[in-house]
Symmetry: C2
Subunit: 206 residues, 2 copies
């Protein structure tokens, strides 16, 4: 038995963040997969199980529903090594997570979704795809520079910032169409993420 | 004397969040105002005082530089009533702050900047302004619904979520060009924010 139910879209990086942390924490949960336009998604929406219609959503035993992937990570990682104890380090970790939602996800994830989801193809104009490519390369360069000479975004130990940024970065080549060859520090960091005990892939259930 | 130096753009909501919290906490700080295209901004950029070129940036006594407005709020509010102690409430507060950076700021703040900053006027095409108006009204409706029947976003007490969302919402009418008349719950909440002891206005120094 488990006290957690996760409504997630398996192919979405925002949902993947939560499934990855749950796997790394070896925490059992009930998974309700809601792919775009699926019956499960329609049912969850109709029944009010997704605040603001957003995935992922974590249902707690007391009926509370948490939304926003990075906020769900914060809840799940309480009292674990995935959140540093020092307030300055916490703020630096959260800074990366706000950067992820404000600058990274709207570019890297959006370009991938325009390429991968047939119902979004009409929005994938050449001009938009080129602009997203250019802006995405700036963002990936910032991330690569931050990872130069360090194993994890905060330094010596992995934190929620790494999980948050990894979700859409690790598939920026295959799904987003970015050339990842210039980003050596990102590639080495992705290999370290994959080597963590309990790691699961994007489309692999825990 | 103070141990904090804040580099901020006085007319920016992201910078305002931090100045507002510092005023509410009655915490002294040195303020370096960096308006767009000012000498102060150029100097701060040249001297590497703004990580990723972003404002606001908070400099601590030990040389640490914190960026991302909501992460700076987290740092400053440690051990204050602005962060709830309960982990579920913390996650709900952070969810609002991630929503702010992912959905609210890129629409409400961007529409205001396109209207108010002359150097952005070329990007303010009628089609873009209309799309931002439509999306912004959806976002303001979500916020208004969340505030129905409660004084603050988390319920009975104000938290960082209120400061974060207030920054660009309170000027969505005057600067963003949104009709705020339909949003009674937002308007009442803004009045409560203005009545908090120590409150400062957007363009008023502490």
């Amino acid at each position: 038995m488990t006290d957690l139910s996760l409504y997630s879209m398996p192919s979405s990086g925002n949902s993947y963040k939560v499934r990855l942390l749950l796997a790394l924490l070896d925490r059992p949960y009930r998974h309700i997969a809601c792919e775009t336009r699926s019956d499960a998604l329609e049912r969850a929406l109709t029944e009010g199980r997704l605040p603001m219609g957003k995935l992922p959503a974590l249902h707690l035993a007391d009926g509370t529903i948490l939304s926003e992937s990075n906020a769900i990570l914060w809840y799940l990682a309480q009292d674990s090594a995935w959140i540093p104890a020092d307030p300055t380090a916490q703020a630096q970790m959260l800074a990366w997570m706000f950067f992820e939602q404000n600058r990274h996800e709207p570019v890297i994830a959006v370009r991938a979704s325009l390429r991968c989801y047939p119902h979004r193809a009409a929005d994938a104009t050449p001009a938009r795809m080129a602009a997203l490519l250019e802006e995405g390369n700036v963002i990936l360069s910032l991330l690569d520079q931050a990872l130069q000479g360090r194993d994890w975004l905060l330094g010596d130990a992995p934190s929620l910032a790494d999980i948050s940024l990894y979700a859409y970065t690790h598939s920026a080549g295959s799904r987003g169409g970015f050339d990842m060859a210039p980003f050596g520090a990102i590639n080495a960091w992705c290999a370290r993420m994959r080597a963590l005990p309990g790691h699961v892939e994007l489309l692999q259930d825990a």
